[in-house]
């Protein structure tokens, strides 16, 4: 969810009317752009935009655009047009097909830039790169001072040590290889193209480097300052539609600052279209049926009303019949994929809080799952037996699940991208969590009786997820006289209350004292373990009293429980 920074005065100027300064009233306006005031200090306004798919709102120009429409300063489709062809060409090298195949450009002339605008532009570029451009992998943006460039441009390749230039804001020249190795941007984004023998490079006629896509611009040609009047916008990447959308957003944002849009011709040696004119800022047409609008929203809007609301949202109306409106979708709305997207805009303009909520009259019967009912019964019995329920994380580490319980490690569901060393896998049994809990409470009064009902996960080849969740119950009793008799009595009482017959059978388990541990069997199925914890394990957890406990598979119990 991007946060847009803007100067309040700038926003006001762009919108064209005085805006309220109280956060509440400002939020009411920002409703129209799915935004909320995050902070407002002095002149600096920070707005959080909820929509991750509306890059057109990710700068103050875009926000202002929408607010103008919502307030009514202007209505209907804002048409942007390409002023003329710039007659500039971009020639693409065939070797880029396998490296970073697409490029699209536009030129904005007579742009009025100042610090605020430039800052906003940089932020927009950043947000687009990160989110919409998927960390520059899908698309990355370059901005250049057009007056310093001599066309045609060549989008070509070079060997890593063949070319060098001064990267943006650096002091001296670096080769491509050096940039990948030493420059922060090289380290951050190098993975996108670094493995290729040839690296992408954008140059002008005089073989001056404009940039090393997607890594960094040149300092000489790619630095945007207040006195730049003509801007070249370039987007490179891997998905063409995405590039075009990105180019559109940036171009429109500069157009809102007075720039006139000039097109560029890109010549491809591969792909379906060999000559592509960019940017593509034509509006697209979509048919919207007011009956569909009403069906989705539960309203009864007349066609004229729907048309009015559409205009308020910035759409154009190409034609309107009784149940059919031909809608002109502005080029800034790259998010419109289905007419349902337009319906949302109608609803927003109508006002979410003007629509009367209606609880759906559906005859449904509520229920908790059988597993839940059973679990709650078990929890009830355990509470009745005097145990304190605890809730522990289901993520753990092999060290806790095995090493500290004196067990050999066996496979558990591990994650390949843990964020910390503390949570690297899903637990396959509950008792270690309870031991950890006890370890945090050695200063508390004894006896301590704790239990948890929770999910554990083990491998299972048969399942589509190659794993199986098991609901388990585990409990531990700690005090100076804790022993098998007590835990067995507890187990007896539990099973008596659940109406299940069970028996115990001697077994080995290294977490428990040899000769003081047993398998819990229900019929012929092994359903759990009960015993006294081995003092080696007790000490491992820095505990000082005897501990007895059991762990039971509740899914097996559920099958046997007589209700």
């Amino acid at each position: 969810m991007p946060t847009i920074e803007a100067s309040f005065g700038d926003l006001e100027r762009l919108v064209g009317v005085k805006l309220p300064k109280e956060a509440g009233k400002l939020d009411d306006l920002l409703y129209y752009v799915k935004g909320q005031v995050e902070s407002f200090e002095g002149e600096m306004l920070k707005v959080e935009i909820k929509d991750g798919n509306r890059p057109d709102l990710w700068n103050v120009e875009g926000i202002a655009r929408c607010l103008r429409l919502a307030i009514g300063v202007e209505g209907g489709l804002r048409s942007y047009a390409i002023e003329d062809s710039s007659k500039i060409k971009v020639l693409v090298d065939s070797r880029l097909e396998k490296i970073r195949p697409y490029i699209a450009c536009s030129i904005l002339k007579n742009v009025k830039l100042d610090d605020d605008v430039i800052r906003g532009l940089m932020h927009l570029q950043d947000k687009l790169d990160q989110t919409y451009g998927r960390n520059r992998r899908r698309a990355s943006i370059g901005l250049y001072n057009f007056d310093l460039i001599e066309p045609p441009l060549r989008y070509t390749v070079a060997r890593p040590t063949e070319v060098s230039f001064v990267p943006l804001d650096a002091a001296e020249e670096m080769t491509l290889e050096e940039i990948l190795r030493k420059h922060p941007k090289g380290l951050q984004y190098g993975g996108i193209i670094g493995k290729h023998r040839y690296l992408p490079i954008l140059m002008d006629k005089k073989n001056r480097v404009l940039s090393f896509p997607p890594i960094i611009n040149s300092n000489d040609l790619g630095k945007i300052t207040e006195n730049v009047e003509n801007v070249l916008v370039e987007v490179t990447g891997t998905i063409f539609q995405n590039l075009l959308n990105t180019l559109t957003i940036v171009s429109l944002s500069l157009a809102d600052r007075g720039g006139q849009i000039y097109s560029v011709e890109v010549d491809y040696p591969y792909g379906k279209e060999k000559r592509v004119i960019t940017p593509k800022i034509e509006s697209k047409l979509m048919v919207l049926r007011p009956s569909y609008v009403n069906e989705v929203l539960g309203l009864n809007l007349k066609t004229e009303t729907v048309a009015e609301l559409l205009k308020k949202a910035g759409y154009g109306i190409a034609g309107s019949r009784r149940d059919e409106i031909t809608v002109i979708v502005p080029c800034s709305r790259i998010d419109i994929m289905h007419s349902v997207d337009i319906v949302e805009d109608v609803a927003i303009m109508f006002g979410y809080n003007s629509i009367k909520p209606e609880w759906p009259r559906l005859a449904t019967v509520g229920s908790v799952s059988e597993r839940e009912v059973f679990s709650n019964l078990v929890r009830e019995v355990m509470v009745g037996l005097g145990f304190q329920e605890v809730l522990c994380f289901s993520m753990s580490t092999p060290q806790i699940l095995f090493d500290m319980m004196n067990l050999e490690r066996s496979p558990v569901i591990e994650v390949s991208n843990p964020r910390t060393l503390t949570y690297t896998c899903l637990r396959n049994w509950l008792m270690p969590s309870l031991m950890e809990f006890l370890g945090h409470n050695t200063h508390m009064e004894y006896p301590q009786k704790v239990f948890e009902v929770g999910e554990c996960v083990v491998f299972d080849e048969k399942n589509e997820t190659k794993s199986q969740e098991i609901r388990k119950l585990a409990c531990l009793i700690v005090h100076s006289n804790s022993n098998f008799s007590e835990i067995k009595a507890t187990l007896d009482s539990l099973f008596l209350n659940l109406g299940i017959e069970y028996r115990l059978e001697e077994t080995d388990h290294r977490s428990f004292i040899d000769g003081r541990v047993a398998k819990v069997l229900i019929g012929n199925r092994e359903a759990g373990i009960v015993g006294e914890i081995d003092p080696a394990v007790i000490q491992e957890w820095k505990l000082r009293n005897p501990i007895a406990g059991f762990e039971i598979n509740l899914d097996i119990l559920l099958q046997k429980a007589k209700f």
Partner: protein, 504 residues
Amino acid sequence: MVELHSLEVKILQALKSERRLSIDDLEEKTKISIDSISRASLWLASKNLVSIEEREERYVRLGSEGERFLETGLPERALVGFILKAEGKTSYDQLTRLSGFKNEEIDIAIGWAKKKGWLRVFKERGKTVLESKKPFEVGSDERVLELLSGGPVLLRNLSPALLEGLNLLKRRPDVIVSSRKIERFVTLTDKGLGAVEKIRAPVKEVSQLTPELIQSGDWRVVKLRKYDLTAPVLRIWPGKKQPYRRFLDVLKERLVSLGFKEMEGPLVELMFLNCDALFMPQDHPAREIHDIYFVKAPLHGDLSAYGQIVKKVKAAHENGWKTGSSGWGYEFSVLEASRLILRSQGTALSVRTLISKDLDIPGKYFSIARCYRPDVVDKSHLTEFNQVEGIILGKELTFRNLLGVLEKFAVEIAEADKVVFRPDYFPFTEPSVELSAYKEGYGWVEFGGAGIFRPEVTLPLGISVPVIAWGLGVDRLFMMKAEIDDIRTLFTQDLEWLRKKRIV
């Protein structure tokens, strides 16, 4: 109720059965000293609980001769015994020579025997002869001797016959000694009897009633010490539900009462159900390693159960398929969709439910799902958390119903006073709404979000009715109610907190 001294109580209780006892008897019964009994009796008499009488009592006991006669028997008895041994007849000379009696004794014995008619004395051939025919029965004086062998006896206790015997004994020197004594008697009055009935006066103070006291009846004669209400006692830590779980239990009940059915599903999930079927493009930022936990091994699960659906979802992503959408316009990888991850959103369960054969239309479903996201665990972040979400589907559901559902939740679950709706965004719903709820004392809180599933989601799953997807941020609600500001407390390891936390 008059407060009685413990001595008084003991005396009253001793008198309860016989009602009248001498002071000596009381001493024996109560083991209290005569002086104390006398004193206490006077107190009792002043309260009219007893009456005291004095009586002069005359006693007789054996004197030194009497003691001797106990050993030897009366002399006349011995005399007759001798005579009978000599075949009923003996001379005086023989008697003096052979009997072993002393001379003085013989004369006295003869005198007494003659008086009792036990022998005949006559002269024969100039000698004195004594004759006795048979042993005579025990006389009353002998019986008195026996009686007095046990110690002094009250004169008034002797029967007329025994008195006769006593008088006989008295004619002999040193056999009987008389004495007088003032006897005092204490008698329980009716009032006294009434008082005894009421006595629970302490004989002994105890701090605890025991089974022995109950069963022996001694509970009537002991005093249970008054309990000090300010005395500190042991703390009891009862068995107890974990507060956050209890909160979720209540939440479940509320949802069930609103007609929602619980969904279940695995923690380890297929990327397909968690993201792809929800129309999240495969390079969406929320699917990256920063936002989803990927399973290390195995990398991939099995999508074969979803066959046709996978094809349709693929088409929807690439070009919109038949949904009327333009799609995302990229190449969809089935391999990528089969990646195994830790479920990152509860909506994966909704997808499973929509695919399931048991789906009810109309239907209302909910789940409280444990979800995972790579994140540091700190005051405001968890790496695993619960999401409460679900779906509602039915033929004529509309956006108004969506708003109605959110509003109902805000009122029923968050107990909100006011609600406000704002536009929101989710990749899988359109239109989408965010709900903010206002509660007196808490202010505005973002409580949940909802939207109508996009056709790119529902159509490939074979669903042709509108599906409302909703989600609630209940963790925040719980934190507000429980007055905690650290989200880690939901999974607290602090036993003290758990023990002392009042049930919210």
